[in-house]
């Protein structure tokens, strides 16, 4: 196929979204070494998964501040995923351990304030777990899609 044809054939109008469908945005904060690589592996393995997710890469789970979750909700995310190396596998030794304490506490606080905890997901996905990445994203997306319009966060205007 000529380059020109390829361009033409694939030209789409980005703005088109299926009318009436609920198309929630999901933001995923992932560590560079495990989950980001795991997501890359899903790509090189040509696995298919839901396209609602937007990944933000950070060096380590230890760098993923729970407050990013708040910011993601503030800016319109309907679900937020935090994912990093399995316990014991942290590239930086202990970033995920330190953060796990914070997440447990922060999540608790969010729940107490009435944030629907179904909207906040945490996972450990290693660089070899492309398939786990796919299932985490698909399941989370399905869950978020199943609760349209339910606004139970306290960070966006009602």
């Amino acid at each position: 196929m000529e380059d020109k044809d390829l361009k033409k054939e694939n030209h789409v109008d980005v703005k088109v979204a299926e009318a009436g469908s609920y198309d929630p945005r999901i933001i995923a904060f992932v560590c560079n070494w495990c989950t980001y690589s795991g997501a890359d592996l899903a790509g090189t393995s040509r696995m298919k998964y839901s396209d609602n997710v937007r990944v933000i890469k950070l060096p380590c789970t230890g760098r993923i501040d729970p407050l990013f979750i708040v910011e993601a909700f503030k800016k319109g995310a309907k679900g937020v995923l935090v994912s990093g190396c399995h316990p014991g596998d942290c590239h930086y030794t202990s970033g995920n351990y330190h953060s796990r304490r914070k997440y447990a506490t922060f999540r608790d606080l969010l729940g107490y304030f009435g944030v629907d905890l179904d909207r906040v997901e945490f996972s450990w996905v290693s660089a070899s777990e492309g398939n786990k990445w796919v299932s985490v994203i698909n399941e989370f997306t399905d869950k978020i899609k199943s609760m349209p319009g339910k606004s139970t966060d306290i960070f966006t205007k009602k």
Binding site: L6, R54, E71, K75
Partner: protein, 660 residues
Amino acid sequence: MARIGVFVCWCGSNIAGTVDVEKVREEAAKIPGVVSALDYKYMCSDPGQNSLRNIIKEKNLTGIVLAACSPHMHENTFRKAAAKEGLNPYFVEIANIREQVSWVHENKERATAKAVDLMKMMVEKVKRDKPIEDVRVPLNKKALVIGGGIAGIQAALDIANGGVEVILVEKEPSIGGKMIQLDETFPTLDCSSCIMTPKMVEANQHPNIKLYTYSEVEDISGYIGNFKIRIKKKARSVIEKDCTGCGECWNACPMHKNIKSEFNVNLSERTAIYVPFPQAVPLVPVLDRSVCLHFKKGGKCQKCYDACGPKCINFDLQDEIIEETVGAIVASTGYDLMDTSMYGEYGYGKYKDVVSGLQFERLLSASGPTEGVIKRPSDGKTPQTIVFVQCVGSRDPEKGVPYCSKVCCMYTAKHAKLFAHKVHGSQSYVFYIDIRSTSKGYEEFVRSTMEQDGAIYLRGRVSKIYEDDGKLIVKGADTLSGNQVEIAADMVVLATGVIPKQGSDKLAQMLGISYDKYGFFTESHPKLRPAESSTAGIFLAGMAQGPRDIPESVVSGSAAASKILGLFSKNEYEVEGTIANVNESTCVACFYCQRVCAYNAISKKEIKDRSGKLIKVVANVNPGLCTGCGACVNACFSKSIDVKGFMDDQIYAEIKALAI
């Protein structure tokens, strides 16, 4: 004002087949601050890189975004290309629209929309990139090796032969470690001291090696290139430089009963002033003050002093503190054997003729207490039947450790073989769980022990050992035949498992390196960086990392040495500049950052005014140690610390880009 260039790669049809690259480019052009947007078939190709470089030049870009494959693929390629045009290489951001878009999504509209989003996020991120300079740390080209076993000696020799000064610190009076205690080595059966002694001597005489025996590292501070070391040289009570090693002193010592020889694993006795073994390096005795009559009875006895020709015995010598500065460290502290007395059913400690593998080595050794004739400790008779029990403590999560000690299968085979060679007509039995003989010549070695030397291998565990009429009755299971077996043996040798050297956890804490739950030092990466610790400038070698045999220990010593020689081949150590950065004006010195830092990279810094008065204390990041993981950022309440390249502001901008 930002001048951003966006380059959308087709990756042939890999991206362009699923993502409307032209649309991505059009959307990019609309973003304020984007002054150039281009799509191209293969951005990573030479023409692709050239057009990128040309546009950087033409448009005087302040940042570039590649919407292309994963940053793990080509981030470096594009950074280098940008750097060639004088752009800070960290002003390059990658939107991963291949691995995380085109290859995983099928709906073109939606894949394109996602690609546009990812591109926008990176545009907003790159707008907020700050120039990052890689950090250069000056190097003190001197190395410290802690532990003078085979791994440490090998490391020290390799480094020294590379022309670099080495300080070798050994806790015991002599270097040599565990290897010098061994008799012959598997699978070649060359004698351990024959191959070890020349190495020890070489280390002692090498002009680039400064040897501190009977010494311990007391304190370490600093970081790669600049570690400050305090070494405690324990008082030997012998003036080293004057001693000739003649032996008059220990021959004169009246204390020759009841002091067990450490070197012979309690199978013989030594004097209060002693050398651990005749080939000790240095051949200078040590006076053990805890048992010496002079010290115990108020200075009356001085027989050794009287006997000494050069008069080099000095009872008043004190511990000495030596301070050194080095640029790199090798931690090769070796191992201990597990205490097997918890296996009451084996009777170790109770029956004299139940010995450990290392004791058996000493019984085999020509330099050992029996001069190489195998004799029972109880009555000195030569045993005709020996039962060897493998996996004592190893692979036993209940009572011992869950890991495999790796060397026992081989040394047990060696013991059985040597036993057969030395005592003709004898019989050995080996209780094993599995035979692990996976290196060159190992399997053949075990086979020959079984087939040529007649050792009977029984797969199963020993349940009980007891004494009966001068014999040790060994009861166990042969799981292959399903029979219970009972063997009347003259001796039992336990292949005790290995554990990290006592105190290695303390040393690890001092060094700021991580260790596993057993106390073995952990590698920076178990596969790709096996010679490096988690802390820059500190390298690992030998059994301190985990069970391994002699060739592996030698390899690891050499590996650590070559890492250090590589490091020292430059005058400065270069670290990626993506490290933490403290805002000193808002830091309140709560030091949560320090608590969560896995690399000891945070220290306290005092800010003083011109008159020297303390204004405040703040956190300080050591660029040589920081890895840029960002745990400190997460720990900081006032947000006074940030990581270059992943600043809070940039993360927020990425999130915000999605809301636009």
